[in-house]
Amino acid sequence: MTKLLKFEGRDLRQQPTGAHKKAPKEPEPYIVGDRLKTAVNLAITLRRPLLLEGDPGCGKTCLAKAVAFELGLPFFRWNIQSISKAQDGQYVYDALGRLHDVQLQKGEKASRRDPSNPEDYCEMGVLGEAFQIKDCSSVLLIDEIDKAELDFPNDLLTVLDKPWRFQVKETGQSVEASPQHVPIVFITSNKEKGNLPDAFLRRCLYHYVEFPGSKEILKQIVDRHYQIEHLELPKAELQDAAIARFISVRTEGGLVKKPGTSEFLDWLKALQTFMGKPYSADKLIGADQTGNKLPYLEVLLKVQQDWRKFKPADDSI
């Protein structure tokens, strides 16, 4: 019996010993709540994909990398596009290249690959690569699955389940994940194009990534980000003021598109470093009441309606 992997959400600065060579080298600053930790560990135990939904910029995508880093596992990321097919993740077969090489050889020129060996022309996709790692599990992130065609999740389902295997049609080769080390799969979605199919959902574990609304957690997030990136932490007053203002903008503003954690971090960075010196914390707290406007709203507000709420109409910029 292999030792069961367990994700703790520890604050690691360096790769754990014995990490796989394809594991992420850089630490991923991530604060994990208890519930999310349970969800991740359940996904590992039950060998089911974990479906993450939530507002944009709240850390759906970073989680997979953080897990891979802490456990020292190889990390694969598959960004889904509207033209992605489930098979692209498995393998791509270069039939034309093979035909080309046959012609080269007939003309008695050397080809890079051997056309008599069909396997030379098969290039593994992300899933294929993840399956081929036999000595440990890998972490596979399928990012923004809702962007793909309607049938995509269903096509994927058959591969991401027992027996974790697919066939390369052209070579007859069968690619199979080692039964002890099946990949840990994270899937993110933001329901851009409606719901995912029921059969797919049934198989997935589900977690909704909430925006970290409390001051303490935001502070932790700031701390960890700045430590890992080796940046100078903003003064405590500025941090507190920024956190308080940000939360108030987010909760009271009635915004159409609420800014997420990543926007907050950008804003804090702007407050700290833009214009050469840190923004005054008093001025930030006093904004609005004293007629001052919040600075660098460009970082936080991305929709015109939201923008109007915070800018007076006669402001000509």
Binding site: A95, L96, V102, L150, G194, Y206
Partner: protein
């Protein structure tokens, strides 16, 4: 409670959720048992969390689970003192003596519970004389519209995908790899790649949508239908024509949903040919239970005109089928294939529109 019996709770909660229509299978049940063995269901809070992660697939499902779970807890609380009382009075049966550990997860499948229920002594019921139900006032069926969500956008997109008539008449620029290789092997040398023509979807759709009045509650579905047909279907944009009408398509239909820019019906019909699919979206008077001779006659006249052009006509009625009874919808459903607006109804309507299913109106004539 000395030991928290997670397996029993899991079984009960699973059955309860199945009743509530959660899409769960035996696999999901076993996964929960596996998780509880791995120590993810130490106490009630942990079990609730496990169920939320494993068995729910949206935030609303997760919040719906909480009251279901609380109900279950309350019932268990009520039963406990009863069982204790019984245990005091009676000899414990051999079954209850069995320690919990001996019960393996495989034995705990939902079947025994069902069997237990079946084994209950059947009550003797004597037959009562058959009697027509007494109805003093006319029955009014009230459809709770705020929860009425028969056809999702996803199902619409999915349905439209089948409405296609592929014709290869585009540019000849699609590389046919199998054919190229075939030619090379036949000739023994490679000359040129084989190209195929691009395929185009030639299916044409005429969407006629009843607007305002009794259709008011269903506007969102009509809007979704229009949006998906225009933007998220394989249909070419020029091949989708959408017109609106109120109650009955009269001499004019309208290009906009506010019914302000009229188009003569004969022009619209002129657009139709034998291969044009027509989808009519209207409640046909079923929402208010109307049965007006005039409306039926006018609609029939319109349908006859339309049927001269094409037979690929389907009618999507946003009211559920039982609501048609007695209204003009019931009569019209004999003239044209009418389907209720849910996933199956829509896919059947698509089948009629693509000429796969036989329009029911024709059967009588054959």
């Amino acid at each position: 409670m000395t030991q928290f019996d997670a397996q029993d709770w899991i079984t009960q909660l699973f059955l309860r959720l199945r009743q509530r229509g959660y899409p769960l299978g035996v696999d999901e049940y076993q996964a929960a048992l596996q998780a509880s063995e791995a120590g993810y269901a130490q106490d009630e809070a942990a079990l609730l969390e496990l169920a939320q992660i494993l068995w729910c697939h949206s935030r609303s499902q997760q919040s719906q689970l909480v009251p279901i779970w609380q109900d279950l807890q309350r019932e268990a609380q009520k039963q406990k003192p009863l069982q204790e009382n019984l245990a005091d009075k009676e000899e414990p049966s051999p079954l209850s003596e069995k320690p919990v550990d001996e019960v393996k997860p495989q034995q705990l499948d939902p079947e025994p519970l069902i069997r237990e229920r079946e084994a209950l002594p059947k009550q003797e019921v004597s037959s009562l004389p058959v009697q027509a139900p007494l109805m003093l006032i006319e029955r009014e069926s009230i459809l709770p519209l705020q929860n009425y969500f028969p056809l999702s956008r996803r199902s619409m997109v999915y349905g439209w995908r089948f409405l296609r008539r592929m014709v290869a008449d585009g540019c000849k620029n699609v590389l046919d790899i199998p054919a190229t290789i075939q030619v090379v092997t036949e000739q023994g040398y490679y000359l040129a790649p084989v190209y195929r023509r691009q395929q185009r979807n030639e299916a044409r759709l005429l969407l006629l949508i009843d607007q305002n009045g009794s259709m008011m509650p269903f506007h969102r579905f009509a809007r979704d239908l229009v949006e998906t047909a225009r933007g998220e279907s394989p249909l070419q944009e020029d091949n989708v024509q959408i017109f609106y009408f109120h109650n009955v398509p009269a001499s004019h239909v309208y290009q906009d949903l506010y019914l302000t820019s009229p188009v003569a019906l004969k022009d619209v019909l002129g657009y139709c040919d034998r291969d044009t699919s027509v989808l009519i979206v209207s409640d046909a008077g079923a929402t208010r239970g109307y049965r007006r001779q005039e409306r039926i006659q006018n609609t029939t006249r319109f349908l006859r005109q339309l049927q001269k052009q094409t037979h690929l006509i389907a009618w999507l009625n946003p009211m559920p089928r039982p609501g048609w009874v007695g209204s003009s919808a019931e009569i019209l459903s004999y003239l044209v294939p009418m389907f209720q607006m849910d996933r199956f109804g829509f896919s059947e309507a698509i089948d009629v529109m693509r000429g796969v299913a036989k329009p029911s109106g024709q059967e009588d004539e054959d």
